[in-house]
């Protein structure tokens, strides 16, 4: 029992991070049908910027974070949308997805060429303390991560449902043509979703890098796991991404303890394939209308 609790809590913390990255996936999918295979690199880059700020410019973490947030909002949000999405969106899903694969290669290897292939430690934004309750070790950091992700989800939800801009963004996501008719400035709102995605990625970077350690390939497995999470939960639903992330995180841990560790990735993967085959809209997703 203790063991289940122990690995479940760790899994939730890991899963919360997957969820955060996965939410970005769903955001972009909903508004522009973009599958961003570079999502993991969108986390790696702000982490790299923060580390650069801390190590090279000697900035405090908070300042470095704000700087990285702004730069990635501009670069991975606005510039990404203008330079890559806009010219390619009319070609359909596949060329865009391929382009993001190209982007992955460029970003990952660019950072490696600049900063080398070694892993680097990264400061914790929250203090790390261990509490032991009934033989189960709780890390204050894990709890802070789960709480931060919950806070981000809550804030994002408030923004999407509680503000005019947010509601318009949802309208755009659900039906861009109708949104145009309603007089919504679709272009600007799509731009917002890209900026929000980049900001989410930067926030994820702040939470994840102390645990993952900074390395040029930081985004590789993170992006893939987040992708599994988004599919499992529901590609067109924000809460789907959240639940999917938690499921993947917990499942990985449980299967490593109670199933063959060498196949621990296979369990989440198996679920991923099953969901695609039997519930392609995801566990929590809405069914998408098939277009003739």
């Amino acid at each position: 029992m203790q063991e289940i609790l122990q690995v479940t809590i760790s899994g939730l913390a890991t899963g919360a991070i997957y969820a955060m990255v996965a939410m970005g996936f769903t955001l972009l999918w909903q508004t522009t049908s973009t599958i961003n295979f570079a999502q993991g690199e969108f986390v790696m880059l702000p982490a790299f910027l923060m580390l650069g700020g801390i190590v090279v410019l000697d900035l405090p973490l908070a300042v470095a974070f704000v700087g990285a947030l702004l730069i990635s909002a501009a670069l991975l949000g606005a510039a990404f949308k203008r330079a890559i999405i806009d010219p390619m969106i009319r070609h359909g899903v596949l060329p865009l997805a391929i382009a993001t694969i190209g982007l992955t290669l460029a970003l990952k290897n660019g950072v490696k060429a600049i900063y080398g292939a070694e892993a680097h430690p990264f400061p914790h934004p929250f203090p790390v303390e261990i509490w032991r309750v009934l033989g189960v070790a709780f890390s204050s950091y894990d709890i802070a991560v789960i709480a931060s992700v919950a806070a981000v989800v809550f804030a994002l939800n408030r923004f999407l449902n509680g503000t005019m801009t947010g509601r318009s963004m949802q309208a755009v996501a659900q039906n861009p043509e109708a949104a145009v008719v309603l007089g919504i400035d679709v272009k600007r709102l799509i731009l917002y979703t890209f900026v929000v995605n980049a900001a989410l990625a930067a926030a994820a970077a702040l939470l994840v890098t102390p645990v993952y350690l900074f390395k040029f390939d930081l985004g590789e497995s993170l992006g893939l796991k987040a992708f599994y999470a988004a599919i499992i939960g529901g590609f067109n639903q924000m809460r789907g991404a959240l639940v999917g992330g938690l499921i993947v995180g917990v499942l990985e841990n449980l299967s490593a303890v109670y199933f063959a560790p060498a196949y621990k990735d296979a369990v989440a993967l198996g679920l991923f394939v099953l969901v695609i085959l039997f519930r392609p809209e995801g566990l929590l997703g809405r069914e998408e209308a098939r277009r003739v």
């Binding site: 892993a119 430690p121 070790a137 350690l213 390939d217 490593a256």
Partner: protein, 385 residues
Amino acid sequence: MRKTATACVALAAVLTAAPAVAQDVKFVGIFEMSGPGTTAGTNFKNGADLAIKEINAMGGILGRKIAITSSDTASNPTTAKALAQKAVDEQPYILLGPVFSGSVLSSMIVAQEAGLPQWIGGEAANITQQGNPFVFRTSFSQAQSMPKIANYIAGDLKAKSIAVAWVNNDFGKGGRDQIAKEMGSRNVKVVADLSTEPGQVDFSAVVTRAKQSNPDVLFVYLNEEESARLLRELKKQGWDMKKNPVVGETTLIGQKVIELAGDAANGAQAHVGLTIDAPNPLLTAFAAKYEAAYKAKSDHNGIKGYTGVYVIKAVTEKLGKFDRKAFAEAMKTAQVSAKDNPGVLMSVCFNKDGDLDRDSYLAVVKDGKQVIEKTLPPVGICKVP
């Protein structure tokens, strides 16, 4: 397209031809510069490049400078083999790399057929068990390092049971198989067999399972970053390293691990073949030079690449000529002392298989520093000067 191809060929020809002045001696390097082996391959390459720069500054080998061309195997054995093929075409004196055993296994056949001495970073035991006279190690084979560790675990620590946490790639699986064998012959039971993924982040399940099995010793055979994450998780779950020692190889307590794991590394012990933390002024000096050159600390792969090149220099100079066949022959009984050849950092000898032997250390992390507990003598496969 054809034009581009021609242009590229011409450009490549110009670029490779230009620096290779007639009296230079040619080395070719094939390293894991991208893909999962990037860290290992890059360190190895950096170490080798550093040695070559130094040697060239001192006038080269037998008065000839070393010209090296390196390429990226992308951690893919198919590419590694292709690049070995290319190396053979260029007729170099020495082939350096690769580091991952899979790539070594695919490329060594090519070098062997061409009679090209190959200096590798792989530690899998079977590399040198195939009668290839042209393959040489830069570090212990797992067949030599594991008995040293097994003796320590079964003898000094008097363990009756161990749990093994290993990374599921050729490096980790090879180590796991060897240690399981050695433990079996010493009547120590392996009570948990914990495979982990390369690049794994969350080690809570591994530690939980290790705790469940309650072993006398936890043996860890992971890469540096994963080691650091495991150590953090051990600390978090309250693992008592005094009661249940955590023992590993170089990769458990390297400088990088301590940097990444912080005080969670305290108490971890390891058999260390090559470490910049050894009480050895030559290694300390190397560490400083490496860091100055690459703004990063060298791991054992950096030392492997560096010392490998210096061994080549020492053996060649003793031979007095550049002759690949004679070189391979001389390697079978080569003994290089650090006193006469400071670049090799530690005295070393080779046997007929291409395996090496030298001192190694048992180190423990205390207050964020590697402290050498004792020096472990060579295994005895050849005579260390």
